[in-house]
């Protein structure tokens, strides 16, 4: 009977909605839905802030919806395919070779998941915004859209468009809702990020011109046979672009002001995803594209990574302001990511991809937790903040979890990431790896000193009254910490007990691995033969 049924219906009837998650528009949805919602929000009348709460809810559910759709796409991601998935390709400006080309491989999907998670957290972290709510959430959604666009783009023009566009809403958010030093913070950010955009444009045009000037598609531009000189020039420009975002020393001038003066939700987006784009750019534009330039620049990259981490740790150690300390500590994950990319081994590159995800969560957690602590304690001064642990148990846990995540302790997602990076790096970049490890020791000392002083020292009875995190704050900080724990505990996803069948999560490590083999293939050293 079953055979008869099968013979009678050789092709199953179409089910409405079936195949929507394999739709070629899924990446466009993650970019353009926030833009459309932002435009609609900004045009709907909101007399005297009557619908402010509704605006917040719309922003939240937009992000939640995108996360839901993307999670299913993540679940359906073909982990054995090294090629781009969910690809979209349309001619945009054919006369100069621009295509609207989107697509994600393993690292791209990992970054998209991070971006959507951070998007939700940033909206929750912005729930306390009271002034010009509509404008705030409009800009926040636009920021989210630009970050998603930069991750998904597979055309240098599209990448540049979203990369550059991110500066404007972020700067306006800081100018409009930042702290007392917002002017300096916003203009520093504009300055540094604009330098990065300019460097990316120069790199793009260099490879475009050298590859014949026919296409901006990454498949053409980044795979063209270029002379070592052009590769080096483009690689240097890409390094500058990435260094302004991650940030790396000496392009870190915006970090202190922005993370301490920007509104919390904006700090979360910047630390969580916008700055991770720097590492992603290095992976896409340098490591995956220009093997010769990568080999040539790898010592410089490793040196920058080491200097960044050591500098960040020393400055954090000497800081007199908790937010400043957290801002500098948030630079550390970027340095670790760059070390993995500089090492140019399959293991270290895989570790770098994972560290972009974990680094985003850790940096956002550190910055956000410090922000909430200073807000609840009514002071930022490390000379006043002392012995808060008994009065802030939840925030103490979260801050400590962030600190442990930064150091890469077992059970947290940063542990496998840092392990892979260091195991993959010591052979090819021994000095850089040693220096970064030394920097991490300094970071540990800085964290211990700050945590001891703020959380576990003698309570300061002259300090203003403090209170612990509210339920909302616990939720969004908990989401960041939960993400770290989840990937740390189940890097390959939870399995049905007694089987290899994955439950709802196919495992971040499995998903991110798709495509890394291809990226790392130029750097695989031939295995020694038996005769050798």
């Amino acid at each position: 009977m079953l055979a008869a049924i099968a013979a009678a219906t050789p092709t199953p009837a179409g089910v409405p909605g079936a195949g929507i998650f394999t739709s070629p528009l899924i990446l466009s949805l993650t970019i353009w839905v926030p833009v459309v919602v932002a435009i609609v929000m900004n045009t709907v009348p909101n007399p005297r802030g009557r619908y402010d709460t509704l605006m917040k809810q719309i922003a939240f559910f937009t992000n939640l919806g995108i996360f839901f759709v993307l999670f299913i796409a993540y679940h359906l991601f073909e982990t054995f395919l090294p090629t781009l998935q969910y690809e979209e390709k349309l001619p945009w400006l054919p006369s100069i070779g621009v295509t609207y080309h989107l697509g994600v491989d393993g690292p791209g999907m990992t970054m998209m998941m991070l971006s959507c998670l951070i998007g939700i957290v940033s909206v929750l972290a912005s729930w306390g915004v009271r002034e010009r709510v509509r404008s705030y959430f409009t800009l926040l959604l636009l920021t989210q859209a630009t970050v998603n666009g930069a991750i998904a783009s597979h055309d240098m023009f599209v990448l540049l468009l979203f990369w550059g566009a991110a500066t404007i809403p972020v700067a306006l958010l800081i100018l409009g809702w930042g702290g007392p030093g917002r002017e300096a913070a916003a203009w520093r950010l504009v300055g540094y990020w604009s330098i990065g955009t300019a460097a990316l444009l120069v790199a793009t045009m260099t490879v475009y011109g050298a590859s014949g000037g026919t296409s901006f598609d990454m498949d053409v531009v980044l795979k063209a046979a270029l002379t070592p000189r052009v590769q080096l020039a483009a690689g240097l420009a890409l390094m500058v672009a990435a260094a302004t975002r991650l940030p790396l020393f000496p392009f870190h001038g915006w970090v202190r002001d922005v993370y301490s003066e920007a509104p919390l939700g904006v700090s979360v987006v910047i630390a969580g995803t916008a700055s991770r784009l720097g590492g992603y750019l290095l992976l896409r534009g340098l490591v995956a594209a220009d093997a010769d330039a990568s080999r040539l620049l790898s010592p410089l990259l490793a040196a920058l990574a080491a200097v960044t981490i050591i500098y960040a740790a020393v400055v954090a150690l000497r800081s007199v302001d908790l937010r400043w300390a957290a801002a500098h500590l948030a630079m550390v994950p970027g340095g670790i990511t760059v070390l993995g990319l500089a090492a140019l081994t399959p293991l270290s590159i895989a570790g770098s991809v994972l560290s972009m995800f974990t680094g985003g969560l850790v940096a956002a957690l550190i910055v956000a937790a410090a922000w909430v602590v200073t807000d609840r304690a009514q002071t930022r001064s490390l000379s006043v903040l002392s012995g808060l642990a008994p009065r802030m148990p939840i925030l103490t846990w979260l801050l400590v979890l962030g600190a442990l995540g930064l150091l890469g302790v077992p059970l947290l997602a940063s542990f496998p990431a840092e392990t892979m990076i260091f195991f993959g790096s010591f052979k090819t970049q021994p000095i850089g790896s040693f220096a970064v490890a030394a920097g991490l020791v300094l970071t540990a000392i800085a964290l211990a000193v700050v945590a001891h002083r703020v959380l576990f020292g003698q309570p300061n009875h002259d300090a203003p009254a403090v209170s612990d995190a509210s339920l909302g704050e616990t939720w969004y900080l908990g989401l960041l910490a939960g993400g770290l724990l989840w990937v740390g505990l189940f890097p390959s996803g939870p399995k049905l007990p007694g089987t290899d069948l994955p439950l709802f999560d196919p495992g971040l490590v499995n998903v991110m691995s798709a495509g890394i083999t291809d990226i790392a293939s130029p750097y695989v050293q031939p295995a020694p033969t038996a005769a050798q």
């Binding site: 054919p94 006369s95 404008s135 045009m205 000037g213 901006f216």
Partner: protein, 466 residues
């Protein structure tokens, strides 16, 4: 269809004359004038798009209808329609004359776009410039006189240049000059008049550091007057520049180096000046000057791709720079006039924001796409130093635009008492609101749906180089 090709020109001139006559009549209600004038410009645009694809020549080759003419006419008609629609007519001293002048200015650009010889180029430019002088004189006769004198200098340089080229090549017809230039080569007798010609155009277009006339006039004139001076007259000069560089393309050595230097100075000085100033209208003028530099950079490449990119960017520039001052209304008195505009006049505020961002070259708007196309042609031609300077200028321009956006969206509106003293809010009319929305759609759509426009610009450059 050939007989209808000049209908848009006829419509525009007839409309301008009718407005001038109607403006002299007494006791009639004139509230419908702006809507009718904008509608007329739009109707002319529709006719142009409908019949403009027909290739034709008129008056023995004096007027040529090709793809470039179609592109330039369509862009300027759209710019004129939008500028009329978004203008706050209570700010204008003589609304009917203002509408007539912007239509005449557009007519001047249309004549240039179709010109087949030097006479057409010169006459069109003078018509557009004269419209600007008339409109400025309605509010400030001293500034109009200054504009007239500067225009006279520009015109003199232009005429001497054209006359010398005629003397060298023995022809005034553009095609004949092109052929003659190819055989003559980049000789000194040919290079000097070209330099004079480009100098005249640079003064007309307000290319930094020659913006010393345009910016003060832009500040003192009425909003629409500023729009004509900053946008339409500059677009007219650039249209001439596009045609001149196309006909000189066989001898790039005669113009390319000068144009590259001028473009570099314009891009950097425009951006830096925009960053330094606080007055929104002056900032807009400097941003426009920076974008003029980008257009010149594209022309300097003397490649078809560069020419096409400049033509594409010229369209974006014409729309934003002409309608920009008009949509800002009384913002010449200072940044605080725009404070809180996002709250009080959201559609107008969005249009101002997009105008600034587009002129600054911020993604994903019309100006960004145009500047990127020029950047691509610079990379193809190997002029990386010019590209680097352009990027520097663009970075400063974007910083300046963010400063204005902050005033619009992040500052609270000033007290009503203070507002009455100087910063009166633009009058809210249905036409101005729809016009502002249309301006937003035009600026965003020009970039996002750039493919057909780029194709037309590419065909335009091909027509010019044929």
């Amino acid at each position: 269809m050939r007989n209808f090709v000049l209908v848009p020109e006829v419509m525009v001139v007839a409309g301008a004359l009718a407005l001038l006559v109607a403006g002299r009549t007494r006791g009639r209600s004139r509230w419908w004038f702006p809507g009718a004038a904008a509608g007329l410009a739009l109707a002319a645009l529709v006719v142009e798009l409908w019949v403009g694809a027909t290739l034709a020549t008129f008056f023995g080759g004096a007027l040529v209808q090709d793809r470039f003419a179609l592109f330039a006419k369509a862009a300027v008609l759209l710019a004129a329609a939008l500028a009329i629609a978004v203008t706050d007519w209570t700010e204008e001293n003589a609304p009917a004359v203002g509408m007539a002048m912007i239509l005449l200015g557009a007519f001047g650009v249309m004549v240039i776009a179709s010109a087949g010889d030097f006479v057409g180029l010169w006459a069109g430019l003078e018509v557009a410039a004269a419209a600007g002088v008339v409109l400025v004189s309605l509010r400030r006769s001293d500034l109009a006189l200054r504009l007239l004198v500067a225009g006279g200098v520009a015109s003199g340089l232009l005429l001497i240049g054209l006359a010398f080229i005629y003397a060298t090549t023995g022809a005034a017809d553009l095609q004949a000059v092109r052929h003659a230039a190819a055989t003559t080569g980049a000789t000194l007798p040919f290079g000097i008049p070209v330099l004079l010609l480009l100098g005249g155009l640079a003064v007309r277009a307000g290319l930094p550091p020659l913006q010393f006339v345009r910016v003060p006039i832009g500040l003192g004139a009425s909003p629409l007057g500023a729009g004509i001076v900053i946008g339409l007259v500059a677009a007219a000069a650039l249209t001439v520049a596009v045609k001149v560089t196309a006909l000189l393309s066989p001898v790039p050595a005669a113009f390319s180096p000068y144009l590259m230097v001028a473009a570099a100075v314009a891009m950097v000085v425009g951006g830096a000046a925009a960053l330094a100033t606080r007055s929104p209208r002056a900032r807009l003028a400097y941003l426009a000057a920076g974008q003029v530099g980008w257009i010149a950079a594209g022309l300097a490449t003397h490649y078809r791709s560069g020419l096409g990119a400049s033509v594409f960017l010229l369209g974006a520039f014409a729309i934003a720079a002409t309608a920009g001052p008009a949509v800002m209304a009384g913002a010449d008195i200072g940044e605080f006039a725009l404070a809180g505009m996002g709250l009080l006049r959201p559609a107008r505020a969005a249009a101002i924001a997009l105008v600034f961002l587009s002129l600054a070259g911020a993604p994903p708007l019309a100006g960004f796409f145009g500047e990127f196309a020029v950047a691509a042609s610079l990379a193809q031609s190997g002029a990386m130093w010019l590209l680097a300077l352009g990027v520097l200028g663009a970075v400063m321009s974007v910083g300046a635009a963010i400063g204005t956006l902050r005033a619009i969206y992040l500052q609270n509106p000033p007290d009503e008492s203070r507002r009455v003293a100087g910063a009166r809010l633009p009058v809210l009319t249905r036409l101005s609101t729809y016009g502002a929305i249309a301006l937003c759609v035009a600026i965003a759509g020009y970039g996002i749906f750039a493919n057909p426009i780029v194709s037309l610009a590419d065909q335009a450059s091909e027509a010019l180089l044929r």
